[in-house]
C-alpha cells in the first residue's frame, strides 16, 4: 500500500519539479530575449538597467524599458494565452489537433484587422487601438456564433469543429476579398498583421493581455478536476455526474476570450496553441492542475525562443515572429505524425 501511495505522491512531486524547472528555463529565456537585439547591450549591463528601474536616463534604459521589456512581456502574456487556449480547445473538443485556429476565431480576428486597416472600422481615433479593436470584435462575434449554435447541439465536439471549419473558410474568403481591394500600402500592413509580429508590443497591450490571462487562468483553475475527467472521455465524465455540455461551453468561452485578446493584440501567431500543450502533456500527463500552467509556460518559452531567433536571423530587423513559430510548428507536427501521436 505504501508503494502505491508513494507512486502517486512521487508522480505529483515529479510534476511539481517539472513546473519549477521550466519556470527557471522561462526566466532565463525571458532574460535572453531582453538582452538580444541590435544595440550592443551586455547581459551584465542589461541586468544593471533592470535593477535601476525604468527611471534611468540613458538611451539603453529607454531601449530596455520602453522597447525590449514590452516585447518580452508580450511574448509572456501572448504565449501563455495562446497555449492555454489551445490546451483547453484540445480537451473540450477531445481532439489533439485542436488549437485556437481550429474554430476560426483567429481567421475572424484576421478579417477584423483587415477591415480596420482598409475602412478604418470601428473608427477609433487612436491608430494603434483601432485595428486591434476591430479584430477583437470579429473574434468575439465568431465565438458567439459557435457558442450559440453549440448550445443548441449540447456542445457536441464534432459539430463545433465543423462549424469552426465553416467560419474559417468564410473569414478566409472575406480576408482575400479585402486583400484584393487593398492598396499596396494597406496590403503591406495586412501582410505584417497576418504574419503576427511583436513589433506592435506596447505596455497597454501587455496590461490588457496579462489581466485577461490571469483572470481566465483563475476561473479555469476551478474547473481543473472536471476538465481532467473530461479528458478521460465524454461518457466517463457524464457518468461521474459532470454536466459536460455546460463545462464545454464555459471552457470554450474562456479559450475564445484568451485567443481573441492575444490575436487582436499581436496578429496571427500560429502553432503555439498546438505545440505547447503537447509538450506539456508529455511531462505532466492530463492532470489539469499541472497541464494548464505547464502548457502556458511552454507557450511562453516557445514564443520567447522564436522571438530571439527572429532578432538574430536578420540583425537590425525584426522578422515577424509568426513565421518562426509556423516553421517550428510544422516540424513538430511532422514529428507527431511520424511518432503516431496524433
Amino acid at each position: 500500500m505504501d508503494n502505491q501511495e508513494n507512486s502517486y505522491i512521487r508522480l505529483s512531486r515529479k510534476r511539481k519539479i517539472f513546473l519549477l524547472f521550466f519556470l527557471v528555463v522561462l526566466v532565463i529565456m525571458a532574460f535572453w530575449d531582453i538582452v538580444t537585439g541590435s544595440s550592443a547591450l551586455t547581459a551584465i549591463g542589461t541586468l544593471r538597467i533592470l535593477f535601476d528601474g525604468p527611471t534611468g536616463e540613458t538611451k539603453y534604459h529607454y531601449i530596455v524599458w520602453a522597447v525590449r521589456m514590452p516585447m518580452t512581456l508580450t511574448c509572456i502574456c501572448v504565449g501563455a494565452s495562446l497555449a492555454m487556449a489551445g490546451e483547453q480547445m484540445q480537451t473540450l473538443l477531445q481532439n489533439p489537433l485542436a488549437s485556437p485556429y481550429t474554430l476560426g476565431i483567429s481567421s475572424a480576428a484576421g478579417f477584423g484587422a483587415c477591415l480596420g486597416i482598409i475602412t478604418g472600422f470601428p473608427f477609433i481615433p487612436i491608430a494603434w487601438l483601432n485595428n486591434s479593436v476591430s479584430a477583437l470584435i470579429f473574434a468575439l462575434m465568431s465565438s458567439t456564433v459557435i457558442f450559440s449554435v453549440s448550445r443548441r447541439r449540447n456542445a457536441d465536439p464534432k459539430g463545433m469543429v465543423l462549424l469552426g471549419i465553416v467560419i474559417n473558410f468564410l473569414f478566409s474568403a472575406l480576408t482575400s476579398l479585402m486583400q484584393y481591394l487593398a492598396t499596396q500600402e494597406q496590403l503591406s500592413e495586412i501582410m505584417h498583421w497576418m504574419f503576427g509580429s511583436l513589433g506592435k508590443s506596447s505596455w497597454n497591450g501587455v496590461i490588457v493581455c496579462s489581466i485577461t490571462f490571469v483572470a481566465i487562468f483563475l476561473l479555469s483553475s476551478r474547473l481543473s478536476w472536471k476538465l481532467t475527467a473530461l479528458s478521460a472521455g465524454e461518457e466517463r465524465a457524464r457518468s461521474l455526474g459532470i454536466d459536460t455540455s455546460r463545462l464545454r461551453r464555459l471552457t470554450f468561452l474562456y479559450s475564445s476570450i484568451l485567443t481573441a485578446v492575444a490575436v487582436s493584440y499581436v496578429g496571427s501567431i500560429g502553432f503555439i496553441g498546438l505545440v505547447a500543450p503537447h509538450l506539456a502533456r508529455s511531462y505532466v500527463g492530463e492532470d489539469q492542475r499541472y497541464l494548464a500552467p505547464l502548457s502556458a509556460m511552454f507557450g511562453i518559452i516557445v514564443l520567447l525562443a522564436a522571438s530571439v531567433v527572429s532578432k538574430i536571423l536578420k540583425p537590425g530587423e525584426l522578422l515577424p515572429v509568426g513565421i518562426i513559430t509556423n516553421l517550428v510548428g510544422v516540424s513538430f507536427l511532422i514529428y507527431l505524425i511520424l511518432k503516431k501521436r496524433v
Binding site: 500500500m1 502505491q4 501511495e5 483553475s221 478521460a232 472521455g233 457518468s239 459532470i242 500527463g285 492530463e286
Partner: protein, 250 residues
C-alpha cells in the same frame, strides 16, 4: 428503505422504440440482474437510469427524481474506451471528482489505495489507463464507481472482459458492497449461470418491456428462456449452484 423505481420508462431513437413503458422496482442491499436477447434494451435501460440517455417516464430513488440525484448513481460501461494518458490511480481518483480540491488529501489517497487493493489492481496504479487490457480497464472503472460510494451501482456487462478469477472477485465485491452499504446493484449479464449465482432478483426484458421479474428460480425457467432466447436450455443443480447451459438453437 432505499428503492429504485422505474415508472413508465420509454426510450426511442427516431421511429425505433427501444423501451416501451417499462415499470420495475429494485430494493436495497441486493444485486438485481437484467437479462434478455441482444437489442432487448438492457444497456439502454442502464444508460437511461444513469442519465446518459434521455427518455420519458420517471426514475425514482428514495422517492426523489433521479435527475436531481445523479451523484447517487455510478455507471460502469460495457467497454471503457479512452485514449487518456491518465494513470489507473488517477482514473480511480476521479470517482471523487465532486469532492476533490486543489490539493488531494492523504485520506483520499488512502481510500483509492484501499479500493484498488480490494479489487486486486494495486499493481496497475502507475500505469497509463489506455495501455491497460480490456479486463484491467473494467476493474479500474469498477474501482472508480465504488469509490464514489453510490447508492445505485449500474454495471453493464461487468464481467465481459474478465477472466474467471476476476469475474468472481468483481461480483463478490459488488455483493458485499450492496450488503454493507444497503445499496442497489443493477447488472446486465449474458452468463446466466453467473446471473443465477449472484442475483437476488432478475428482470427479463423482452422487446422493450418487462416479461417477468422475480427471484432467479422463478425467472430462469427452461421453457421461458427457450421462448425468449430461441435456444434449448439445460438447467442443472450442482450443490447450491444453478448451471445454465445453451444446448441447441431451436
Amino acid at each position: 428503505m432505499l428503492e429504485l423505481k422505474l415508472d413508465q420508462i420509454e426510450v426511442h431513437f427516431g421511429n425505433h422504440h427501444v423501451l416501451k413503458g417499462l415499470n420495475a422496482t429494485f430494493d436495497a442491499g441486493k444485486i438485481h440482474s437484467v437479462i434478455g436477447v441482444n437489442g432487448a434494451g438492457k444497456s439502454v435501460l442502464l444508460k437511461t437510469i444513469a442519465g446518459l440517455i434521455h427518455g420519458s417516464g420517471q426514475v425514482l430513488i428514495r422517492d426523489q427524481d433521479c435527475e436531481y440525484n445523479m451523484s447517487d448513481i455510478a455507471y460502469v460501461p460495457q467497454m471503457a474506451y479512452s485514449t487518456s494518458v491518465l494513470t489507473a490511480f488517477e482514473m480511480v481518483l476521479l470517482g471523487k471528482v465532486k469532492s476533490l480540491s486543489w490539493k488531494v488529501s492523504k485520506e483520499i489517497i488512502q481510500e483509492v489505495n484501499e479500493i484498488m487493493n480490494t479489487l486486486g489492481i494495486a499493481g496497475l496504479a502507475g500505469k497509463t489507463f489506455s495501455s491497460l487490457s480490456g479486463g484491467q480497464k473494467q476493474m479500474v472503472i469498477m474501482a472508480q464507481a465504488l469509490i464514489s460510494k453510490p447508492r445505485v451501482l449500474l454495471l453493464d456487462e461487468p464481467t465481459s472482459a474478465l477472466d474467471l478469477y476476476h469475474q468472481l472477485q468483481l461480483l463478490d465485491v459488488t455483493k458485499e458492497y450492496c450488503k454493507k452499504n444497503q445499496a442497489i446493484a443493477l447488472t446486465v449479464m449474458h452468463d446466466l449461470s453467473l446471473v443465477a449465482r449472484y442475483s437476488d432478483s432478475i428482470l427479463l426484458l423482452h422487446e422493450g418491456k418487462t416479461l417477468k421479474q422475480g427471484k432467479p428460480d422463478d425467472v430462469l425457467l427452461p421453457d421461458l428462456l427457450e421462448r425468449v432466447y430461441r435456444v434449448r436450455i439445460a438447467v442443472a443443480k450442482l450443490d447450491d449452484l444453478t448451471m445454465i447451459t445453451p444446448v441447441s438453437i431451436v
